[in-house]
């Protein structure tokens, strides 16, 4: 599927809390086929500190309206600049990039696990799973109840389980401490979140013989396999997160 470089127009910029906002982007062109887990590289104008593009996951894709949604966490200068975009502003984007989450077997019981901005790719993944007849469970971890975002969106896809670190909502602790992991048996887990979360989920999956894929957020320069900056050590040697990933089966990682 050919990569493109294209201008998108901001049609909505919704702040959801102190840290997160959702950008709705519209293209005059028909969207190409975008697979769950893929990402884009956006050019952030306005500062010498945002020299390179910023990689952001496809949070949702609306083929009917040639629109995509991004869920973004303010992490630094680049994402801060993006958070201030107004309707009508133009963003230059390279997409769709990267591989995608694998297709589960029809009978498989699937769990999506996410935390922080790592929940971003899981919405589109969930919708896509639903469209092929799989209703995944969703386990989301947040620091506290005030940080919970997009809950209602995920509810539309499947059952949602929550953990908060302070126990202010859902179960207390990290995602891997959630009781669902000890009561239900999943065939496949898709996970995206902070490294520590992904590693814990990987350990759990390995121990319980569950197929597990994680989506990495390595630092990237090009996003198209040209610079070799975004590598991750795998059993096949150093692979590029941007073209061989961002989704990796944990069996390939040296975790």
């Amino acid at each position: 599927m050919a990569k493109r470089i294209e201008d998108f127009e901001v049609i909505d910029n919704k702040r959801i809390n102190n840290d997160f906002f959702i950008l709705d982007l519209f293209s005059v062109n028909k969207l190409p086929d975008i697979k769950p887990g893929q990402f884009l590289q956006v050019k952030v104008d306005g500062s010498p500190e945002t020299f390179l593009r910023r990689p952001i996951s496809m949070h949702d894709v609306d083929y009917d309206n040639n629109a995509i949604k991004l869920l973004i966490q303010i992490a630094g200068k680049g994402t801060e600049t993006l958070s201030k975009l107004q309707n009508g502003d133009i963003l230059n984007i390279i997409y769709p990039l990267g591989n995608s989450f694998s297709i589960p077997g029809v009978k498989e019981k699937v769990l999506l696990v996410g935390g922080g901005c790592g929940i971003a790719p899981l919405l589109y993944l969930g919708k896509w799973l639903k469209s092929i007849g799989i209703a995944p469970d969703i386990l989301l971890g947040f620091r506290n109840s005030e940080r919970i975002i997009e809950y209602d969106e995920y509810l539309k896809i499947g059952k949602v389980f929550l953990t908060t670190e302070d126990g202010s909502r859902g179960e207390k602790g990290f995602v891997t401490a959630h009781s669902i992991l000890s009561t239900l048996k999943y065939d496949r887990i898709y996970c995206c979140g902070p490294d520590s979360m992904m590693k814990a989920v990987a350990m759990y999956s390995r121990k319980n013989n569950i197929v597990c894929e994680v989506s990495l957020e390595n630092l990237m320069a090009c996003g198209i396999g040209a610079c070799l900056c975004c590598i991750v050590e795998t059993v096949k040697g150093n692979l590029c997160t941007c073209i061989d990933g961002p989704v990796f089966n944990i069996n390939d990682l040296k975790w």
Binding site: I5, P48, E49, F51, A221, C227, C229, V232, G237, N238
Partner: protein, 305 residues
Amino acid sequence: MVNLGFSIGDLHFKNPVMTASGTFGYGPEFDDFLDVSRLGGIVVKGTTMEPREGNLYPRMAETPSGMLNAVGLQNKGIDYFETNLYPCISEYDTNIIVNINGSYVADYVQLAERINSLEKIPAIELNISCPNVKMGGMAFGTNLDSAREVTKAVRSVYSKKLIVKLSPNVTNIADFARVVEEEGADSISLINTLLGMSVDVVKMRPALSTITGGLSGPAIKPVALRMVWQVAKAVRIPVIGMGGIMTTSDALEFLLAGASAVQIGTASFIDPQASVKILEGIEKYLIEKGFSDIKDIVGFINRTC
């Protein structure tokens, strides 16, 4: 119509815009964005005899108007290149140049011999300037005797066009240019990255796994331009300039300062079409200024002052 072509000896380039090693993969990475065959040439990723895994992650840090990299010549080695990459990229209708690297002089010589026999590779770029490897690389490019030795050794086995890529991390770049010209280089390309560093003050540790890395991008353009100007005045062979070229105007600065051609590096990460846009821009500039040949502007500033 303006003439954009230039030559290194009898090797003709249809235009003066190439892509820089390590920033354009092998070409196919950019097929979706541009017609690679429109370029004057492409210099493929740094290649070594043996496969190399390169340095540990993190290998990249963003800096003001630039980036640091510490890739460390990750590549699959010459065997893989010959068997798997060469057949497919030799279809491009442009000059494909292989950037060669080694830890010892013997590595460079072996590689040059191997590549000499690849019909569709008309030139090599001898990289004596990689700042990201423990052995070889920049060590050759920051010592006049080593630079001489490796150039001489490679020249003795390599019969096609030999481009030597210089390191900017030296006191007097013109000395290096003269030495490699003396030893038979057909062309000189510069600059490779400046040795730099970045610290993550939140984590209180170096941003790169290797602590230091190579600085590229617009930040280095003034230094690159100065060195290209110095080298172009010091040698007779064609000089290929690079370092921070993002726009047509940047490329023109290098040509006006004496470069016969330019390479586009980091710019391709931000705009994968940068190289062809710059190519189009140069042609437009020549037309607007009323020049009919790219040669008319090469080194122009040296003629008037």
